[in-house]
Symmetry: C2
Subunit: 274 residues, 2 copies
């Protein structure tokens, strides 16, 4: 067991909430993600403004995955002293832009000196129908939105020393807010694909004590591609037509690829960080 | 203007909430503090369990400063891969201990790899009467709880290569929950002393457009001592007896040291991080 898993297991023993993309208290959802230079990104890959925007979008993705509407954000940020004033301004502009784009007000936080750029965002969102990771029944269909695998190709491109494309999904993840909001009543479970679909399926398998029977192989390259921020959803077969109709309505590609089954699931991917 | 101030100014332009120890939305207070190895502490100074406990306490201090009761915590943590399994367990144990001690449930967060130990906590607390930093009127009295200056001496001790005392206020900040809860109706403003009383007075001066007339000099050593986590409060002279009575009742030393006055305030301290 790696250190992070070990830590989470120790802390989770004291809480019932940990496990979903966000914690649900009444109709409020709290989610929190850290985005750390050297672990999640390199500074050469994106402009400070793009980094800020992406960090915000990635956090909003957790709220979307819970079928919640983001309201407020708290930002803890560690800024390296090597940043120029212009870079600090660009970083701030990225957060302000994302805050407006997602209708999520920045209400506070903490700004400190740090050797590496560190961004930790907490999103407070509201939902009347939380979409959880649990609830999958045998026979339910599994599907993902969009296409998976692009983020991995983009990452290889970045690791080869190039800069990210301003319009790429890597820089500007495409969130599926409208589709999820409309489809939520027909879905049994959902989460966003942040660590690669195979790794995220492991979470669903553990939580729901189920395996999956695949209709077609995803391939290791696409299946182990992290940071897709597409949605992974489960629904009963009788809802398939309805869910597919709503996907078309919102111009959201939807691929049904597996069924929850009495098999043992094995994740073929290695650790997801570069 | 340093980078952090510049960043805060850029982001704050888009929000009305930033400025207090926490953001108040209805009766809910949201506060968020980052605690970063190399900026706020060195690992040699404290055990992992002490570091976790202190990080939690420092965040609870923000809620106490707003006269709010902590309910939920979200933890984003970056764990260095040099940590042993035992150290990760000790870290987890510190958070679980603090969570129980402060009655504040850990409901979620994010755990990632990082070069340095990074702890960012978001506290969700409830208040019926938020104690803000604004609201000070000319003539109001300024007071601090406990004694200030100890944290700086402790820091010098640590910088000299020694380890922190398990019972010191540096390791276990003494929060003034009961006193603040009882005194809040009689206080005009309040905040916790995290960056040194002189630096925190600068914030009150800017926000309230006031200066201070000192009854006695605090001395640069005590006045520039950060991480005290004692409370800095303001109240009208007619409330003095009542506030002093409540301080005695809760065995909280209280020193009235200044009056809000039409003078120009100048902070004699340098940047607070070591």
């Amino acid at each position: 067991m790696d250190l992070e898993k070990r830590f989470i297991a120790s802390v989770s023993a004291a809480s019932k909430q940990i496990g979903d993309d966000g914690a649900v208290i009444g109709s409020t959802v709290y989610s929190n993600d850290a985005f750390i230079e050297g672990t999640h990104f390199k500074r050469a890959w994106m402009t400070p403004r793009q980094i800020a925007y992406k960090a915000f979008a990635v956090n909003i993705s957790d709220a979307v995955a819970m079928n919640a509407v983001p309201r407020y954000a708290l930002l803890a940020i560690g800024i390296p002293s090597s940043f120029t004033a212009g870079e600090a301004d660009a970083l701030a502009a990225g957060f302000v832009e994302a805050s407006a784009a997602f209708g999520c007000e920045l209400i506070g936080g903490d700004t400190v000196k740090s050797e590496r750029l560190i961004i930790s965002l907490t999103i407070v969102s509201e939902t009347r129908r939380p979409l959880r990771r649990s609830g999958i029944k045998r026979g339910d269909l599994l599907a993902f939105t969009g296409s998976v695998g692009k983020a991995k190709r983009e990452l290889q491109y970045l690791l080869a020393g190039r800069r990210a494309h301003a319009q790429s999904h890597y820089v500007r993840p495409r969130l599926r807010r409208e589709f999820i909001a409309d489809a939520a009543p027909y879905l049994r479970a959902g989460m966003d694909i942040s660590d690669g679909i195979y790794t995220d399926l492991q979470r669903l398998a553990d939580l729901n004590r189920t395996g999956f029977s695949f209709f077609r192989p995803l391939g290791k390259s696409a299946g182990c591609s992290g940071e897709e921020y597409e949605m992974l959803v489960a629904f009963p077969p009788r809802m398939r037509k309805r869910v597919e109709y709503l996907a078309r309505k919102h111009r959201t590609p939807l691929t049904v690829f597996a069924r929850a089954a009495r098999t043992r699931y094995k994740n073929p991917c290695k650790s997801h960080h570069f």
